[in-house]
Subunit: 267 residues, 4 copies
């Protein structure tokens, strides 16, 4: 095991408060915390798992950040897709090393980073957004995790369609996904999964008939609630406050030809 | 796009009832459904997304099953880890193509299949179970998804320890995870994540102090609730019944040396 | 304490399985259970809390049913309002002994019984339904609990309006509550609460602007999720299955005159 | 309808922000808000439902506070029982006008006020607390709602037992309810319900066997999750943040004699 080096990501963790700081090692830089200062040069060469002291003598540990932890901590200008939804998305878009996956929009790149992490060196993420500033941010966040080379970012309005065909999966995080289902059908390999996220029930009510009209089947709608517990063995209880809502997830499969009857069976 | 062939997995989906049947194409076999019979030989050569008729004239579509769908439908002899937890586990164990990950027990192989799917051809899953019959089932379920070659199954009592060191991640789904933390520390690379699942609060109350005693830090405890909605646009509402509990997830990071003070900060 | 007598309600509870049977003592009648037969005549004269044996020698206890238990067990022809919502309704309609409260529809009388229980001998429940068969059922269910004399049942289409004015509270459990808000305003004392329940998000989207248009303010929308735990101390965990949805509750307050601006503040 | 007078409770509601202020009309007093000042003397003589202007010309409405609203807004020195649990408690303790109910501790009087509201002039609440300062606060909060005459407050350590027998219901909100079950049995009429609330799973694990040992049966354990929605019809969605935990509710029924076998049936 070789030591930590320039540009490695480190999660500084304090046993005092459980505080966490995500840093990227940069020679000459330092991280200030509520428990004193840590200079990056003193961390370079150490290893993940090592303890270290701040300049005021407080203990910290050098942890390797998980991709889930990273996603929660990226710099953002948009609402991001959170780990509780993102993990479920991976499984229901059936991502795998080597997959070719399309997403729109890039947003702050939270999901882009995850997809790029998971498709590996032989896979490919095609990430569309109509705003160049979001694309730049998403690119920076992918780069920080070391996977930007697996992503093709495209600044484009989705109405113009995707360049790709036979994609293994498509994910939409846009205001009006019902407007782009024709474009999705052209890009997505038949029998494969479209996933999308919307925050409101009004959007759900619009997307369902639009999916049915475009011959998407196997429609699944759900939300995930994450409930945290305090790590106190003698007084175990859920935390007082939880996230009440992030978004509704929708999955559907593209098929060939017309679906004979409306999806009554789902009622 | 070449056609479906022997041994391919297909999700048969009916627009009539939304019924789903997961099959593995086998020449000579046939699938009976509530809406008639489908002979595999008539499916071989078709493509994902194609429509097909049962012998009684009912429509079906040939979908490519997602790994999430597959996990829910594997043959099982044990309680399995479900997609809502499994996706979250992927992100917080930080799995990636090429990763070396340990799990115990193999159980029915639901999580084994997912891990093997995600680590790719250059990664490795080491899957332990003390029962040979579970190992055989887990192996069969991995093979059906086409990833069994990435897994080393070992029939062994966990008390004897793991063969591996410097693993990228460890996941425990065992009765008394607190009994095996020493073995985990030897196997897991420092600064990396241990994940585990337990069904009861009593187990949580035992694992928390055990993790603290073995210098695991950054303890996170949570559960995920999945709520499905009926895909009916004009009368949108959550489904009447939902799963009330599967298990509690715990994550923690192994560090070097003694953690100076008990994890008061987490209180 | 005098003994149990004819027409008293008793909850038979078995320590063997936790089975519960709600009976109304009727001389000559008997209750068959999975653990044998109990003759009402042998129960008359005993007291709440007493043990009793079935004809096959199994133990039962005679419990006094709570109103919550009763509501869950009434004979029903309609979807009923369940205790988890009903209790919240009591508090937010601010029911009290002596209150005059209107409800529509009567349905199976679950909420009618509760309201009548709570307003006492000096209060009054006005219960409307357009179907005479529901009214009859609701009346029977109130009578069984001994509170039917506090209720005036009216078989009427709500479009014709209520007879009452200055009611302390109004509750609507109807298909299209947005159609009857004018009638509610005439019946409800200003500054008091309207409550309503609807199962779908589409209905919520219709009722909100309708309430605003009719000068209802202080709009509150919520749902309640009830999660049960197994009463097993050594393996404490939530139950495997839970109710995923019953309905959305809406509360709003009627005021005088026009509300100056749309309820932007709530956004 | 006569006008509002000295000591009436009013909920001031602003259509601008949905802000709410609970006041008790007091000649000479005034209420400052983010939208200007309101003098009580200008409100006295108006009626519930009336509009009124602040000194800066902003609109307010005079609403009659519900008991649920009041409970959420009482002055408190302790954790209080919230309306979502309180309503369920009413139904499962089976409160009714005329009931005699015991609670311990009084705490800030949130539940005391509700119980006193519901038992009416002919009912009685016996409220115990070992701390005189809590008793004083609970008394003040009951008085503000106008129901303190229905309550007998007693400053006492629960170990000394209750003065009452044959109570219709008992509710415990104490640190170690398992220590006082014998006292509860003496005070509670057989076949009636004990309710209690505890925040941690450890307490649940202790109370279950204690209840079984003291011949309480029909044990029910649950929690309630309340999810609010934004009252915005065109973008309907749950609120971003919700309360993640308040407490676990436990209900059980006292019976006579020994319960023959441990409550295996509940497993």
């Amino acid at each position: 095991m070789t030591g930590l080096k320039q540009e490695d990501l480190v999660l500084l963790w304090s046993p005092k408060k459980g505080d966490r700081y995500l840093i990227r090692l940069t020679s000459g830089a330092s991280q200030s915390t509520h428990l004193g200062l840590l200079r990056h040069d003193e961390l370079i060469g150490l290893s993940y798992g090592d303890p270290v002291l701040s300049n005021t003598g407080h203990d910290f540990f050098l942890l390797k950040p998980s991709i889930g932890e990273y996603m929660r901590r990226i710099r953002r200008q948009t609402q991001i897709v959170f780990p509780k939804e993102a993990g479920y998305i991976l499984l229901h878009l059936s991502l795998f090393p080597g997959a070719r996956v399309i997403e729109c929009g890039s947003g702050s790149g939270s999901l882009t980073t995850l997809f790029a992490n998971m498709v590996g060196d032989h896979g490919r993420v095609f990430s569309y957004d109509r705003r160049a500033d979001f694309t730049a941010l998403a690119h920076a966040n992918c780069e920080r995790w070391g996977v930007s080379e697996r992503v093709e970012f495209k600044v484009r309005d989705l109405a113009e369609g995707f360049d790709e065909t036979d994609a293994d999966a498509v994910f939409l995080d846009v205001q009006a996904p019902e407007d782009y289902l024709r474009q999705v059908r052209r890009a997505l390999a038949p029998g494969r999964q479209l996933g999308l996220i919307v925050p409101t029930t009004n959007q759900l009510e619009r997307i369902i008939p639009a999916l049915q009209a475009e011959s998407f089947v196997n429609i699944e709608i759900l939300e995930l609630l994450l409930r945290r517990y305090k790590a106190t063995a003698a007084r175990l209880r859920p935390e007082d406050v939880m996230v009440g809502h992030t978004g509704f997830l929708v999955f559907a499969t593209a098929v060939r030809g017309k679906v004979p009857c409306p999806e009554n069976g789902e009622e």
